[in-house]
């Protein structure tokens, strides 16, 4: 069962729903009632990127549990105060498990969680937990380490484009991981960053891609949610990497691989925990090893040797022998931030607010 709601209609209905709630506060859930699960999305499910990936996760939950669950999602929810109302409404509607899938929902989620103590919340990419709030994220930077290797190997100009969304540690981490890996192959490589201050604006993402290509970039990476940059890469005959979903359809020649988010298994695990009564606060930050992300099949532009190198990097990350942020790492000024033989701890990664050498932003 699905209910599809847009933020505006959703909020418009809130007032009426409030009345209904007031009229029937003694409604009791029977054992046969399905577990209601709510999802809050920052973009439209049709963005073919981030939100699309989360919605595939939601569908996986439905496919797995069938009538035992009832999912509801609200798309296009702005980060900030609007989000709080949406999350509160979902909780008041009896959703026992609520996934809030964008960084900016952190404070609203915690606030609502205080009032709804018997509801479980799962906040994606955040770092604050509570007795009924878990956080989960994916080590996207592990995928970026592979992508950086590809970029360093395949870029002829040594200029790698990076279309960045909003300046939060997660995005900075991705930029740095790409630059570090690229410079291992080509020490002269430069990651050129353009911030568009939005997660989703196909037109602007495409314009940013044009701006980068016109300035010598011949390998495009992005941390925004639409296929537009890759499409521009295709038109201009350069290579690039898909974001969040396999975007091959938009760039059959240009896309060498894509970092694909895999939220389904986690969502199923957490729903199962609620059904079993074993849900507990968790701080989950999984990566390639646990299958939180995967890489789309390599294109023909990737030679067998190069593909083998990428697979070796993946294997190294999975078995722990390779850390994408292992020293020596220098910052933009050339000062050593991470000494040889050590690697950045998770805490440093989560708060990353500096660029490594080779990033121009």
């Amino acid at each position: 069962m699905i209910r599809r709601i847009d933020r505006r209609t959703f909020l418009a209905g809130s007032a009426a729903a409030g009345l209904t709630l007031a009229a029937g506060p003694f409604h009791k859930a029977s054992a046969a009632d399905p577990l209601k699960i709510g999802f809050v999305y920052v973009g439209p499910i049709g963005d073919f990127g981030w939100t699309h990936g989360h919605d595939l996760g939601r569908k996986a939950v439905e496919a797995k549990f069938g009538d035992m669950v009832k999912t509801t999602y609200v798309e296009n929810v702005a980060e900030g105060p609007d989000a709080e109302r949406v999350i509160r409404k979902l909780a008041a509607d009896g959703n026992k498990l609520i996934f809030t899938t964008s960084f900016g929902y952190m404070e609203p989620t915690l606030k609502v969680a205080k009032t709804f103590k018997n509801t479980y919340f799962e906040h994606a990419t955040g770092f604050k937990t509570a007795p009924n709030v878990s956080v989960y994220s994916s080590r996207f930077y592990e995928g970026r380490a592979v992508v950086g290797h590809l970029a360093g190997s395949l870029s002829k100009t040594g200029k790698i484009g990076y279309i960045a969304s909003v300046p939060i540690p997660e995005v900075v981490r991705g930029i740095n991981a790409t630059a570090i890996a690229a410079r291992k192959v080509n020490p002269e490589a430069e990651v050129k960053v353009v911030w568009i201050n939005s997660w989703y604006d196909p037109g602007k993402e495409g314009d940013a891609a044009k701006a980068l290509i016109d300035q010598g970039v011949d390998f495009m990476t992005q941390h925004t949610d639409s296929p537009a940059p890759l499409q521009i890469a295709e038109q201009r005959g350069i290579l690039g990497v898909g974001q969040a979903s396999d975007m091959k359809a938009f760039a059959p020649t240009a896309q060498v691989t894509a970092i694909v988010d895999e939220w389904g298994p986690y969502y199923i695990e957490r729903a199962q925990a609620v059904l079993d009564g074993t849900w507990a606060t968790a701080n989950t930050w999984h990566g390639l090893k646990e299958g939180f992300l995967s890489l789309a099949p390599y294109s023909d532009a990737v030679s067998e040797t190069l593909a083998a190198e990428c697979e070796a990097i993946k294997a190294g990350i999975i078995d722990g022998s390779l850390h994408p942020f292992a020293g020596p790492i220098k910052d933009q000024k050339g000062e050593v931030k991470v000494a040889e033989g050590s690697a950045l701890a998770d805490g440093d990664l989560l708060g990353m607010d500096w660029y490594v050498e080779g990033v121009s932003a």
Binding site: D47, G203, K210, A211, A249, S360
Partner: protein, 309 residues
């Protein structure tokens, strides 16, 4: 920045300005007739998805563009029936039209997500299009870019030089006077609103067929609202709409190129504000300052027309 980069940047500016210009010029005509249609964003989205679906379905971008114009006009017709015939509040109806357009376009487009389409072909005139600099800059665009400029010229001429344009302006300035000397106010406004729908549909078609040739939900990303602001920014004059669209597109694109050029010591956030700062500055300059003129808002803008019976 070398000459090549500047040329490339200008091409990107033209692409960014075209959807704004198309959407704004139609809204200008609608507002000149006294009708404020805040549904531009919704009409653009419907135009975008219909253009895309038709092009994918028939393989003909020409049919896609035609369908987008019709789609935009159907949306505008709904707006017209509500506000002109049934005299609903224009602001509320316009907002509703946008929300409706967002939903309707998502519904129509659900099956097309992830489908690619060929970019609208660019004009290619042997000899001319190959000229250095001038070739790509003037002779290398697709049909919609030329159409956007042609429509602006036509609208400027129509409003200023033709009798019909005079009547349209009269209807927007004083509907009762126009009515009392025998003009059919409602009919004139219907035509103006439909024209607004037509160009908003074209703007949508440009987005989904040329700018970013694909369909994704909400792909207008606020351009309909910018177009609305542009009309006021241009103080309801067609040539200023043309200039405004290019200034707005230009500032947006310039900051992307500056960022790509490396650290210039200005935070990206500040540069992202530039287009909006530019709007405020220009608005201030044209409404105060030595060039002060009337802001020229049509006197009957947004007011429903109730003929005394």
């Amino acid at each position: 920045m070398g000459l090549d980069t500047i040329l490339a940047m200008l091409l990107t500016v033209i692409a960014a300005a075209t959807p704004l210009l198309l959407a704004a010029i139609g809204e200008l005509v609608s507002e000149k007739a006294g009708v404020l249609n805040l549904g531009v964003e919704g009409m653009m989205l419907v135009g975008a998805v219909i253009a895309f679906a038709t092009t994918v379905g028939t393989g003909s971008p020409a049919l896609g563009i035609l369908a987008a114009m019709i789609g935009g006009m159907v949306m505008a017709l709904a707006f017209g029936v509500l506000t002109l015939t049934l005299m609903a509040n224009q602001v509320a109806t316009g907002l509703a039209l946008t929300i409706f357009g967002i939903g309707l376009s998502s519904l129509i487009g659900a099956d097309y997500i992830g489908t690619p389409v060929d970019k609208l072909a660019s004009l290619s005139i042997p000899g001319l299009s190959d000229l250095p600099v001038i070739g790509p800059l003037i002779f290398g665009h697709d049909i919609l870019v030329y159409l956007s400029v042609a429509i602006t010229v036509a609208v400027a001429w129509f409003l200023k030089k033709t009798r019909a344009g005079l009547i349209l302006r009269a209807v927007g300035e004083s509907d009762l006077s126009a009515h009392s000397i025998g003009y059919d106010v409602i009919r004139v406004r219907y035509f103006a609103v439909l024209f607004g729908g037509l160009t908003a549909g074209l703007a949508g078609a440009y987005l989904s067929l040329s700018y970013t040739p694909m369909w994704v939900e909400g792909m207008t990303a606020g351009r309909g609202w910018i177009a609305l602001a542009l009309v006021a920014f241009a103080s309801w004059r067609p040539w200023r709409v043309l200039g405004g669209a290019y200034i707005f597109g230009g500032v947006t694109i310039l900051q992307l190129y500056l960022q790509g050029g490396g650290d210039i010591g200005i935070p990206a956030q500040v540069m992202n504000m530039l287009p909006y700062l530019a709007t405020i500055i220009v608005l201030t300059v044209i409404s105060a300052g030595p060039w002060r003129g009337r802001l020229d808002a049509p006197a009957c803008l947004g007011k429903p027309f109730r003929p005394a019976s």
